[in-house]
């Protein structure tokens, strides 16, 4: 009878856990695992060969965020493992469940500065939800199963399992425990706190809901909408909460934060009760926290107790799953009609109209980044997945790409990782081969993981790559203009001929400079069944407004 190795046990465990896609890059210490994958490469376990391990982690994130399942990435020891760290930190900040499997040198060589040895557990510990090293084959299966359970339980996050080469190579008894129950079962609902929260909402004159990523993670969109409609409560979303309430819902007033909407921000200071659901009062949302929501009592719903009272003290903290809490809260919340309060949002929304008009309908001059985003919005399907990178284009995509239907918006929210979009879009497209997946990036971000064009070529990933080229690191340039006396230090950036570069990877590319070419080029771009790259040359100077200056309060928001 064939005795399995640790590596075979690893692959079989992943299969038994329902994993069918892995993003990775082979190397010395992880080679036994790749040998076992070769045995199982009969279509049931797809391995996507990335071109850099950072991209493996981001691709796993894109996969996880669009499926709700754990994304898996694999790297070898040493530089392979350290290259994962940016993606791991990104996943930690954005509560994304990914499992990272790293090879490690032989147990006998640990601590000897062996070739490609890195203390990845020490490095990863502060940026993972959990990590562990496995030094014997028998422990691989239970450790992987535990890691998967931890990644997806409670507040999701990244986990890392580091496996020494001897553990992968040696024989073992392959016994896979059942996938364990979630390590922290959801807490019983705090009935008293739910009554307190409902009392606050029922007596509020100006209640306002702040919608975060936790709503999407919990699948609480319907429960939230039901509550908001019943009690007639306006709402706005954080950048990662976008899409939880449809953009065209009458109670929805856009995005919170530094480049969020005018009414959405100012109303946080006017509200008397704030219902914060699955959001963590990030400094980009609150501005100066001491001057945030000065008139409001706060009902804060979060599954992570460490988020409560962290930045903004909660009047009523509710720890637990957002969907369960909202479903319990709604029956106690009175039906209400708050026409005047709603109308006051609409009036403030109108103040932003000149900003929108200037951004979306410039009378002349080169194409604006904003109008390119709006043209993309008009060209794409109701089921498209937009993966935005980091910077001006990201904020403009959040502002001007309308999330209606089943559209999704994926981006690097907490860490702000440039170079996220291309690999994350690969992960999203592989998870959803039939949906339009569009990576939107600036010319700076485009060059930060450009090597992934190789992955796209080899795996024939039909992702669409939209590069909005303003020849600048635009967001930093905007700050230099506004806060550093127009001293443009190191922000002008030259780029290669992107369509020609795409052609070198056998990807069809195109370039647009004129306004009249934009809509037809985008139509061809999004509707192609193959990979496409479209570079749009946009005006070099375009600022994202509204803007809350760094360190300012939300009431310092500027329209120009």
């Amino acid at each position: 009878m064939h005795t399995p190795t640790g590596a075979e046990s690893l692959v079989r465990t992943l299969k038994e856990a329902g994993i069918d896609t892995i993003f990775g890059y082979p190397g010395g210490a992880i080679m036994p695992a790749y040998d076992a994958l070769y045995t199982h490469s009969n279509g049931k376990m797809r391995h996507i060969l990335v071109r850099h391990e950072q991209a493996a982690a981001h691709a796993a994130e894109g996969y996880a965020q669009t499926t709700g399942n754990v994304g898996v990435c694999v790297a070898t020891s040493g530089p392979g493992a350290t290259n994962l760290l940016t993606g791991i930190t990104n996943a930690m900040m954005d509560s994304t469940p990914i499992l990272c499997i790293t090879g490690q040198v032989n147990q006998a060589l640990l601590g000897t500065d062996a070739f490609q040895e890195s203390p990845i557990i020490s490095m990863a510990a502060p940026v993972t939800k959990w990590c562990a090293q496995v030094q014997s084959a028998d422990k691989i299966a239970p450790t992987i199963m535990r890691a998967l359970a931890i990644a997806e339980s409670g507040r999701p996050g990244p986990v890392l399992v580091d496996i020494t080469k001897n553990a992968l190579a040696e024989a073992c008894t392959h016994e896979v425990p059942a996938r364990p129950e979630k390590s922290r079962p959801s807490l019983p609902l705090d009935e008293k706190a739910i009554l307190e929260a409902s009392e606050l909402l029922n007596t509020a004159k100006r209640p306002y809901a702040l919608v975060g990523h936790g709503v999407l993670l919990s699948g609480a969109q319907d429960a939230l909408r039901t509550l908001l409609e019943k009690a007639d409560i306006p709402c706005a979303a954080t950048v990662l909460g976008l899409g939880a309430i449809s953009d065209d819902h009458p109670l929805f007033h856009g995005m919170l934060g530094m480049h969020g909407n005018y009414a959405a921000n100012l109303k946080t200071d006017e509200a008397d009760v704030i219902l914060a659901v699955g959001m963590r009062f990030d400094d980009r949302v609150t501005g100066d926290a001491s001057r945030f929501a000065r008139n409001a009592k706060i009902i804060h719903i979060d599954i992570d107790p460490a988020e409560l009272h962290k930045i903004i003290p909660a009047t009523v903290p509710l720890v637990g799953d957002a969907n369960a809490i909202l479903e319990a809260l709604t029956p106690h919340v009175a039906q209400a009609d708050r026409t005047a309060w709603r109308e006051s949002f609409r009036l403030l929304d109108q103040c932003e109209e000149p900003v929108r008009k200037e951004a979306l309908s410039p009378s002349d001059g080169p194409i604006s980044m904003s109008e390119a985003i709006r043209a993309l919005d008009e060209a794409t399907a109701d089921s498209a997945i937009i993966v935005a990178d980091v910077g001006q284009h990201q904020m403009l995509a959040a502002r001007y790409y309308r999330l209606t239907g089943t559209r999704r918006f994926i981006t690097s929210g907490g860490l702000g990782t440039m170079g996220f979009s291309l690999p994350a879009a690969i992960g999203a497209q592989i998870a959803h081969p039939q949906r339009q997946v569009i990576a939107v990036m600036g010319d700076g971000c485009a060059q930060m993981n450009i090597q992934e064009l190789g992955t796209i070529m080899q795996e024939k990933v039909p992702v669409k790559i939209l590069i909005l080229n303003n020849h600048y690191l635009g967001m930093v340039r905007q700050w230099q203009e506004l806060f550093f006396d127009e001293r443009y230090s190191a922000t002008a950036i030259e780029s290669p001929d992107f369509p020609a570069l795409a052609a070198a990877y056998n990807i069809k590319g195109a370039c647009v400079r004129e306004r009249a070419e934009l809509a037809p080029a985008l139509a061809e771009f999004v509707n192609s069944t193959e990979t496409r790259l479209l570079e749009v040359h946009v005006r070099t100077i375009e600022n994202v407004f509204p803007m809350i200056p760094s360190g300012g309060a939300v009431t310092d928001i500027r329209l120009q």
């Binding site: 959990w130 090293q133 992570d304 107790p305 460490a306 409560l308």
Partner: protein
Amino acid sequence: MYYTLTAITENTPGVLYRIASVFLQGQINIERLEVSAIDETRTRSRFRIEFFDTEQHAHLLARRMERLVEVEHVELTQEKDGGETPQNTDST
């Protein structure tokens, strides 16, 4: 204020490191640290850590500690006498 944090944890490699990372991230100095295995099977440990901090930070630290998968239980107590005044740290 002077606090004592007691944590019951798994007795596995790296737990001390993770707990120390939480203190490091908060830039909180540890005044006294005791760790020992607490059951016959040596599967659990008890940490007793003493430190100075504000009330708000100490509670946040305790909650961040509870977030660690290996940590099963955390108790935070404020010492009545306020502890000894922090001395100039000596690297020895």
